[in-house]
Symmetry: C2
Subunit: 896 residues, 2 copies
């Protein structure tokens, strides 16, 4: 991301004469980057389904937006191109834009490469004026429709183009409904709609100081610039930040002839998925509203009908819709998410895109698509967002748990979550920063709540369905979500949630199950799920397709067993220090560090040896002969001692009560001070420790070798043991450490090459520079990309992640934390260099990576590309890594 | 060093059939690497002066030694080659090795590429046995000479080949002299010498369990292997470590016909320099001893005569010696350090090498050599060891100081030093580690004291002259040294130094002046000297020859003025934080950091602004229009606050006395904790600080710009101002910082490009990787090789330099601290990459380096090679850098 971003930044605005406007007929789905997702979808549908299904229109390109942002003004050619496109549109339709008698009305919608909820979305019915609303009433013979359309236009234009607050506008609607004593918008009559329109215009005037524009050309121009401007809005930026979308993509503007779902009982607007958007089951799903425009459906304000009901009320249109969606699935090779409108019995398609879906549905679709012959395995696996598979391994309610269901809602995004209630996005963010698990509870959500989604474990709303903003965003992020739990009465002013007489408040415990819609205040146990059959199928394909090995990082036998179950092909990193941290071992470890002489240190180490040996035996047994890479002690010794402050405090406490203990504490204090480091990350750790205190590494190697022998003898299957030397920067460090391993192992009767191999971590820039020389002395490299990132970027993770990275993301200096996705520019360059040099120095060397990047799909794609042999990640990310590795292989392979 | 070392390590021992033995006639001075310094010198002298001046002999090559070390045994071909060479030698001389009647005697001497005092040096008179000593007595008619030679041989062979301790052997000599009532060795008669020989042999038997070998062939073989073995001895390793000599060079063995300086009053041995070895004045100097062998001269045990006296006692030989040395100077193009023996009136040359000499002498020689037409300027400047020029800028006694001279000795190595007395090398090392300035005081010094030289500020001995071990090593290291201060009675057992009734002890203050030989216990002021005329001449040539610019790192006007005087061509680094550390500014800086709001912070910054501005004005004025690079604030803010422990202590103290102050301290404590970092080196510092708190950089830029204006106005000469942004790793960091500089400067009416330029530090591996992109946004790069070394090697200087680097040097993992001389393999690779990318991105970019490596001659050679435009170093190293830069240019230029 960063790479492309930085490279591209200088090229923008350096091209010659550009075409900024494309009619739908001129585009295709391949032109997504130029026309945006929505525009390219409309173009493709126009080509494939014909212009009788897709209302005519044109797209103003993303490049026009980029140029607008760069120059601070629209490109000079743009106005002429738009005018010409509009003229062509008028000719096609046979109506004039701005014709007071029979106006051509337009929808203006934004559309970036990727759908972005944070951006200005839609203005409908554009072109209506005080005069042409009368013409529309006349020509349609439907005065209520005309005024409903006009009030909607004035409302949307005021809000999204000029920022008149939603609350004021919705407040007017609520007031009029209250005054007229009606419950639904559809019950408002012409007079009410006229009053409403006038009220909206008054708000417009108050806020802008101008009258509502009566020139359709000006309306279009303002709307277009507003779409451009919304790309740079705070919410869009926040969304891009979370979703790692570059700032320089820009958005397109889609201008399209209006069709009307609000022309009465035979009209409707809806969203439809080609398959169930939650489960992936091959049944179309979605929501629609009779006599409504699209905004009513997605806003979640009115409760929608299930798509299945459309089969009953408009069976022909329903069949047609299903048939179109099947066709679109074949065209796109993916599950589709569409928008449609039925105007007086006639079906129009307004959008199609690959459906965002939870992991469960993604996996199901992939399996079904192969079974149906829609896709081959490689293409099918590429439809899955590997990063989201996490959700399938995330907790659900324990099947055997007994709990009282407080209420039920729509199961909108699968997985379960529990935490304390927060009632606003900022509160969620604050609590998350404090490390609290929270559930964000809202009546409904809007774009400005997105950051709160990110911070929360789960989302619960009282309004809206599966297509509501809350549901869409939660699924996009892999957060559990229950929507439309209408039993909840949420009073944000009072800060209360009332459910059948129970009153909950912020800070109370709550749990939701986004797979079932259940809500409870009981402290229900969450469990990690088994891998289901579909997921197993996909993982099986992944293993066929991928060339990259997948191992796990595991320090204790329990983790190793879990990793083995999840399909890890070995352990890529066992951190031996975690064994020393165990409570029963800490005193021995402290004794070792406090030792005054090498002899005394050896005596303590002798006590630790059998404990380590037992740990290693457990690991070897769990992995049943697979490779197990054990890293010799890495952290600085002071990590095992209490801090200076703690000891000073202890000293103060015992001064009066146990003066006899003061000597010991003083001694420990002196050692702590002696060992304390200014920058421990760059201090006496890794192989430096082993060179300073060879007896420590010697003991560890002895424990490893004895464990290898014991397990081989006990199980009859020799473990595959890899001894790994950390933090090497000089050939001399490696050679000295290697000699110690060889000598110690030999003294235990173990033979290098037969009983074990030796490798080194590559985690310093200098190690990358001398990788050719290092490679000659080892059987494998394991890239420690956490530390390599810290040194290459000069970023101490502990100090930078909280303070600097978020600021840098806000300031667009980075698009994602380099500790999450590998920095391909800096760190990646060094990895690439080390791979080339390493193979040059030792063609048979095995190359792996055991940093946290090993479980990140984007990083895995990079590791696959540079030609590593395996990645190693936490046990729970092993399935994700298997799929990501397969995707990387599928993407690199020449397409079939 | 490290680079060559690592690359070479794998190639050793992979060559085909090798010739291991060369007669002197077969060699030349070009074969130094193969034959060693001594061997190639003997070969060259044989070719140039004829075999009547150089006793015949042969050299066993350094490759034989390397092979011996590698295989643990001598190469199989070696024995045959030695036998053949010996046979040729016998033929030439007409005597047989081991002939009991008229034995051919040999000297066996080690000789690496570079002279190494730490190694086994010499065995003389080899070939004598109980039988042939009688033959020698017969054939020379000089029984005393024969027995003196034999006792010397037994003594040396026992000591250097078999490790019989010097004390025991010298103890026997002392006993016999005491018993016989004589003062000098030369006064011992034949009976005494026979008794001494027998006593030595008894010690030999006690220690080795064997009789002293009576087979000359075995004597030669054992001596040869002992030379090989001494290369791997602890003292040789220590010496190599200090002098950065690779371990894999090996040593040659020189086997040469004996000539005898101990054949009576017309014989002598001596060392002679072609010019004064202390001052460089064009008068030959040296020491000699009548009726002695070479070892007597260099051991410093007997007080020698000045070479000038030789002109009186043996005028012909003296003239011949002077003539030969002149010839050798022409051959080698350098001042020579020779060994000679006069045997019964006939002069033999036994060694020649370029003279190690103090900076003063080196500079004088270079100037004279050009005046004499011996060398051109480029060649002359290359004869200077730039690193040692430091001594010329090191302290001397203040000319106006009044002090009482305690005693006088030989002015053996120039410069003055003061410190507390230590009486052993280990004590010197220990004190130095504790940061204490010490003077090492010894009766005389030996090879095992070398590490103590390194640790001490100066060396004082009561015995020996200018050619003594102490004098040689001190000059080699650039340490002030006074030798042979015979008024000092040093009792090591008592730990006292008695001088005319005054008793000094370890820990007492002492000062020595190695340029005058003065010793005092007064606290005399040391002053830095002026640059003398010769040095000025050399610096003038340096400026003609060099292409690399030389700037200085200076934070305050006084340093800037000093830098300007020393010839700096600008300031390459002004660290603005040092200005904030000044006592009057700390409260303001603290206030700024403690500020709760940006407004409050700005208010404090406003107070700091005029102070910084005044500092900058001082710098600009001192540099008179030369370039001044000012780095914006770099260190983390917590460096300006007290530590948590200090505040806790303060809290405890005020709790009862000033409870009203507790709130303030608590607040400060909270801020300290908030700002505290695990690895501050990799934390919130550099441009990260400026991005988090733009108001800080803004204030600094404002102060800089106002200073530029003020000085321009006041002096009529516009400063050349360079604003430098530290710790950049991302293009976004640079752009954001740059924009802040541009905007702030513009608001002060200053124009980028006209009034100032902008650059960035390159001090992170990632910055090197994106140097092409970074280069587009700046006018200059300044490599911060301190930080780049820390990140590339993962070495926190604070934590590693004390604990790890010394161990690594001992373990031969590195040959020198990478903070002293740049690590060309890792850090150098990144610098090279950044230079290439930087120039590719911006061909007109200016490239400099401002780390401490900027004052290190070896590093300067590297920077010259990679094509930097300038180096910047501390003001006192500017003259060194000018010379080193000239040398680098001279070495790179095609030879004339």
């Amino acid at each position: 991301m960063t790479q492309a971003h930085e490279a591209a930044a200088d090229q923008i605005g350096e091209r010659a004469m550009t075409k900024y406007v494309y009619d739908f007929e001129e585009g295709s789905r391949e032109m997504r980057n130029l026309l945006g997702g929505k525009g390219s979808g409309l173009a493709e549908m126009t080509r494939q389904l014909g212009s009788d299904v897709v209302p005519a229109g044109f797209v103003v390109t993303t490049e026009a937006c980029v140029e607008y942002m760069r120059a601070g003004d629209e490109p000079p050619e743009l106005e002429g191109e738009v005018t010409a496109a509009l003229a062509r549109l008028e000719t096609k339709i046979g109506r004039k834009f701005g014709d007071p008698a029979d106006p051509l009305l337009l929808s203006v919608r934004s559309g970036a490469r990727e759908s972005m909820p944070g951006m200005m979305d839609t203005v409908l019915n554009l072109g209506l004026t005080d005069e042409s609303v009368l013409g529309l009433a006349g020509v349609t013979g439907n005065e209520r429709f005309a005024w409903d359309s006009y009030r909607r236009f004035v409302q949307m234009f005021s809000n999204v183009v000029h920022g008149v607050p939603t609350e004021r506008l919705e407040g007017e609607i609520a007031r009029i409904k209250r005054e007229r004593g009606v419950a639904l918008d559809t019950e408002l009559d012409v007079a009410a709609l006229k009053e409403l329109t006038a009220a909206f215009k008054a708000h417009f005037r108050t806020l802008t100081g101008e009258d509502f524009p009566q020139d359709p050309g000006m309306q279009l121009h303002q709307a277009m610039l507003a779409v451009f401007g919304s790309w740079g809005g705070a919410r869009a930026i926040a969304y891009r930040r979370i979703n790692q979308i570059p700032d320089d993509w820009g958005t397109a503007v889609n201008v399209q002839q209006m069709v009307f779902g609000n022309r009465g009982a035979h009209s409707c607007s809806g969203v439809a998925f080609s398959r169930d958007e939650v489960t992936g089951a091959p049944t179309p799903s979605g929501d629609f509203l009779i006599n409504a425009q699209g905004e009513d459906v997605v806003s979640g304000v009115r409760n929608t009908s299930e798509l299945s009901e459309l089969a009953e009320v408009m069976p022909e249109s329903y069949e047609r819709l299903v048939e179109i969606m099947r066709k679109l699935e074949r065209i796109y090779g993916d599950m589709q998410d569409t928008e449609f409108t039925i105007e007086e019995g006639r079906l129009y398609m307004l959008q199609t895109r690959n459906a965002k879906r939870p992991a469960q549905a993604a996996v199901r679709f992939a399996v079904d698509a192969v079974a149906e012959g829609l896709l081959d395995k490689a293409k099918a696996i590429l439809t899955i967002d590997a990063a989201k598979l996490d959700a399938l391994l995330h907790p659900t309610f324990d099947r055997n748990a007994k709990f009282e269901v407080l209420a039920r809602g729509v199961a909108a995004s699968p997985g379960a979550a529990k935490g304390t209630i927060v009632l606003s996005a900022p509160a969620a963010q604050k609590a998350a920063e404090a490390g609290e698990a929270v559930i964000l509870v809202r009546p409904f959500t809007e774009a400005e709540d997105v950051a709160g989604f990110f911070a929360a474990r789960g989302i619960l709303t009282s309004e809206g369905g599966k297509a509501s903003h809350a549901a869409l965003v939660a699924r996009g992020m892999g957060r559990p979500c229950v929507c439309g739990a209408s039993a909840l009465r949420i009073d944000l002013d009072e800060g209360t949630i009332t459910v059948n007489g129970t009153v909950l408040r912020a800070g109370d415990q709550i749990a939701i199950n986004g797979s079932t819609g259940e809500i409870t205040t009981d402290d229900v146990t969450l469990v990690r799920p088994e891998i289901d059959e579909n997921f197993q199928t996909v993982l099986g394909w992944a293993d066929e397709l991928r060339t990259l090995g997948v191992r796990a990082n595991a320090d204790v036998p329990a983790d190793a067993r879990r990793a083995h179950e999840f399909g890890a092909e070995g352990i890529g990193l066992c951190r031996t220090e975690h064994m020393f941290m165990a409570e029963d071992r800490q005193p021995k470890m402290r004794g070792m560090i406090m030792a005054d002489t090498v002899e005394e240190r050896r005596a303590w180490l002798e006590k630790l040896l059998p404990l380590q040996q037992a740990d290693f035996e457990g690991l070897f047994e769990a992995m049943e002969g697979q490779k197990v890479a054990i890293r010799l002690l890495d952290p600085p010794l002071h990590e095992f001692l209490p801090s200076e402050l703690e000891l000073l405090e202890e000293l103060r406490q015992v001064a009066n009560t146990h003066p006899e203990r003061m000597d010991g504490i003083h001694k420990e204090l002196a050692r702590v001070r002696q060992l304390s480091e200014t920058n421990p990350m760059l201090g006496t750790r890794g192989c430096r420790l082993g060179i300073l205190h060879p007896e420590i590494y010697e003991t560890q190697v002895r424990a490893i070798m004895r464990a290898v022998k014991a397990v081989g003898k006990r199980t009859g299957k020799a473990p595959h043991c890899e001894v790994m030397i950390p933090l090497v920067g000089f050939t001399g460090e490696l050679r000295r450490s290697r000699e110690l391993v060889l000598a110690t192992a030999a003294s235990e009767g173990m033979e290098h090459g037969r009983d074990y191999v030796i490798g080194t971590m590559i985690e310093l820039p200098r190690a990358c520079a001398i990788a050719d020389t290092l490679a000659k002395d080892v059987e494998f490299f394991s890239f420690g990309t956490n530390d390599l990132t810290q040194t290459t970027l000069g970023f101490s993770r502990d100090d930078i992640e909280g303070a600097i990275i978020p600021q840098y993301i806000t300031d667009r200096i980075v698009t994602v934390s380099p500790f999450e996705t590998i920095d391909t520019v800096g760190v990646g360059m060094l990895v690439r260099m080390a791979v080339e040099k390493g193979r040059a120095g030792n063609p048979s060397i095995e190359l792996g990576i055991c940093g946290e990047h090993g479980g990140d799909p984007k990083s895995i794609a990079f590791f696959n590309e540079v030609g590593l042999d395996y990645v190693s990640c936490s046990p729970f990310r092993v399935p994700i890594a298997r799929v990501a590795a397969a995707q990387a292989a599928a993407q690199q392979a020449p397409s079939a």
